[in-house]
């Protein structure tokens, strides 16, 4: 019987290798046929959110006027993580890949490994050449790999400080603190008096979120998880300073811990006024505050982040979703045309803000009078765009690494340990770095 099994295994191995080798060839469907260069073209879009689908559908006429194509578009919704998994699986199978894909930042990082990004995605450098100087460099960095740009960000996801203006006024909280440090020492006494916190950190099971809350302040402080070369950068004085600041804040009550910024715990905290201010990206108004506390419309305002005494800017960035054209298809050129038309035209950037709330990625659009004058009802009529326009030059660049999801596991555990006092900040960071290094080498 042992012999039979061995034979069986050997047979399986042979067959399997043959299959595996077979799969590696020809991941470009129809690579042999000539690319479509004009006329009607039907494109398939994959994204995780309906808002993008509507936006692209609304861009078809404009794209047709700027390119030789007549576009029609079909869209499929897939979760952000699943989208990349499925994209790769379809590419291996050699069919069924979309023409355009919306890649959430953290999942885009998965494509940085090996030659995935160059194999799957069309470089956009030529397509953006004309306007490159006007594009905000900080948002090109994360979607660039080996010097080529592979996706256009939908947003400059700037981080601001959200505050309950009504309660700030009533309880005498300063709206423009000189520094985070000052604000934290006020917040400590404020918590002792009122039981309310002026910020929150995530400690739940969404590991990306746990890391993101820390990452945003780290970026603001001038640090980053990775440096421009993709090397780990969490064992720096900046990182330790930011984490110490957060840990002290949690321990003093200035900050509170919540398990999910979009879910039950944050909703409760916002409703009962335990949290009356927090730092988060521009999209948090639409996806965090409005759905969870619609009744607080009019009471919220945004403002710049207090700066750190040690240095850094007054804003940060968090998140982002880049749209890419899939390479190797007869429709790649048409897809590139649609992505660039939909995303780069100034009018489109204006529309993206008014319809989806995403900030323009072209610097010049920040001077648009309509946007500057637009008032945000949820923010009590505040001219939110003015705030973002005043901060946009502070937006720090984000550098990714193919290994960012490894860091996410290691770091999120270490951060929670630090918030809970199980580890000192420096210890937490060096533990996370050690875990990261032991796993990232593969």
């Amino acid at each position: 019987m042992a012999l039979t099994r061995r034979e069986l295994l050997r047979g399986a191995l042979l067959l399997g290798s043959a299959a595996a080798i077979g799969t590696t060839a020809g991941c470009a469907p129809g690579a042999s046929t000539t690319p479509i260069t004009s006329g009607p073209v039907d494109l398939l879009l994959w994204t995780h959110d309906e808002g993008y689908m509507k936006f692209f559908e609304g861009s078809l006429d404009l794209a047709a006027s700027l390119t030789p194509y007549e576009y029609s578009l079909r869209s499929t919704r897939i979760g952000a993580t699943d989208l990349v998994t499925k994209l790769i699986a379809q590419a291996v199978a050699g069919q069924g890949t979309p023409d355009i894909a919306g890649l959430e930042l953290g999942n885009f990082a998965r494509l940085l490994r090996g030659e995935l990004a160059p194999e799957l995605l069309a470089p956009l450098d030529d397509a953006v050449a004309d306007v490159r100087d006007d594009l905000i460099e900080a948002r090109l960095a994360p979607f660039t790999h080996d010097g080529s740009l592979y996706a256009l960000d939908s947003d400059v996801p700037m981080v601001v400080y959200y505050r309950r203006d009504d309660l700030f006024a009533e309880l005498g909280v300063p709206t423009e603190a000189d520094s985070w440090e000052d604000f934290a020492s006020f917040g400590k006494g404020f918590y002792e008096k009122t039981g309310r916190s002026l910020g929150a950190v995530a400690t739940g099971t969404d590991l990306g979120q746990v890391m993101q809350i820390f990452w945003m302040l780290l970026l603001q402080r001038g640090g980053g998880l990775f440096d421009a070369d993709g090397e780990l950068a969490i064992e720096t004085p900046e990182a330790e300073e930011v984490l110490t600041f957060l840990v002290d804040g949690v321990q003093s009550g200035f900050l509170t811990t919540v398990s999910d910024f979009y879910g039950p715990s944050m909703q409760t905290a916002l409703k009962d006024g335990t949290v009356i201010g927090l730092w988060m990206a521009n999209w948090y108004e639409a996806y965090g505050l409005k759905p969870n506390v619609p009744e607080q419309a009019g009471s919220w305002r945004i403002g710049p982040l207090p700066p750190f005494q040690g240095g850094g800017g007054r804003t940060s960035v968090g998140g982002g979703t880049g749209f890419a054209a899939i390479s190797g298809s007869v429709k790649t050129d048409a897809a590139t045309g649609l992505v660039t038309a939909a995303y780069l035209e100034p009018e489109q950037q204006v529309r993206r803000f008014t319809e989806l709330g995403y900030l323009p990625t072209r610097r010049s659009v920040y001077a648009d009078e309509r946007l500057l004058a637009s008032e945000d009802e949820y923010l009590g009529g505040q001219r939110a765009f003015e705030v973002f326009a005043s901060l946009v030059d502070d937006a720090p660049p984000v550098y990714l690494s193919a290994d960012i999801l490894i860091l996410q596991t290691a770091l999120s555990g270490a951060l929670v340990d630090a918030y809970r006092g199980r580890k000192r900040p420096s210890e937490a960071l060096s533990d996370a770095a050690a875990t990261f290094r032991s796993q990232a080498s593969r």
Binding site: G11, A12, G16, A20, T24, E119, G204, G413, V416, R442
Partner: protein
Amino acid sequence: MTTTTTSGAVAAPPQAARARTGGVSAATQRAPYLFIAPFYVLYVLFMIVPVGAAIYLSLTSWVGLGTPTFVGLDNYSGLLTDSSFWTAAGNSGIYVAFSLLVIVPCSLLIAQALNTKGLRARDLFRVTFFVPMVVSPIVVALIFSMMLDREYGLVNSMLYSLFGVPGIDWLSDPEWAKVSVSFVLLWRWVGYLTIFFLAGLQAVPRELYEAAELDGAGAVRKFTTVTLPSIKPVTAFVVVTSFISAAQLFDEPYLLTKGGPGEATLSVAMFIYRAAFERQQFGYAAAAGVFLFVIVFAVSQLLNRALQIGRAS
């Protein structure tokens, strides 16, 4: 035929019927092969090639696209020194122990209770244990994260108001997170296993109980002398498949804690999934998969031996 038949309490006169083997028709000889053919057809078509490919990939470094680079046994030696892998293996060990030592016995007891004669509202209780299975996984994650939230959760507020226990960090404390995952495991699996036991209990002849009652046996003795021996084949099935499922556990830690905090609840199956579909280390994932397969298969074979499953006479 199998040794289990004799212990299965169908009161069969041991192997008397075996005497028949004299003239077996060709059709009778062919029958079992035809009966099992569908499985092997599908096995050959859809299992051998992927498994072979996985074994081959385990010897390569592959990001999921492009040409795999042959690296020999590097992935395997890497696993041996990967602390994450051993953490995951340890956690999976805990899940296995918990499911065999707690969940399986609980299911048997619940099945026994539900099988009690004249139990009122029996249907209601039966449906109850089935309910967790029909709850969609997303909702399981959502509801439990609400109930177990440290600051705002139902469980902590009840513990506080009843016993003054301060907030327990059910999902983000490395030890409590294991407890929470285990609890959800219990919650989701008990119904399944109860059903298997119930189906087994149906086949225990009432006469055996009546005979035991005549001998003056109490509930406990009836359970140990009649029920347990009678349902041994089913129990063996439940034990072996529970072992295999627990060793390959993925859903519960993934839903509840994403393997966190850190890697405190990471299971081996999650480790494999993470390597393949988050980190694009397909070769490494395949190696871990082969490793898991070998261990699970070897242990389940031992269990089979011990429980006398599928042993040809």
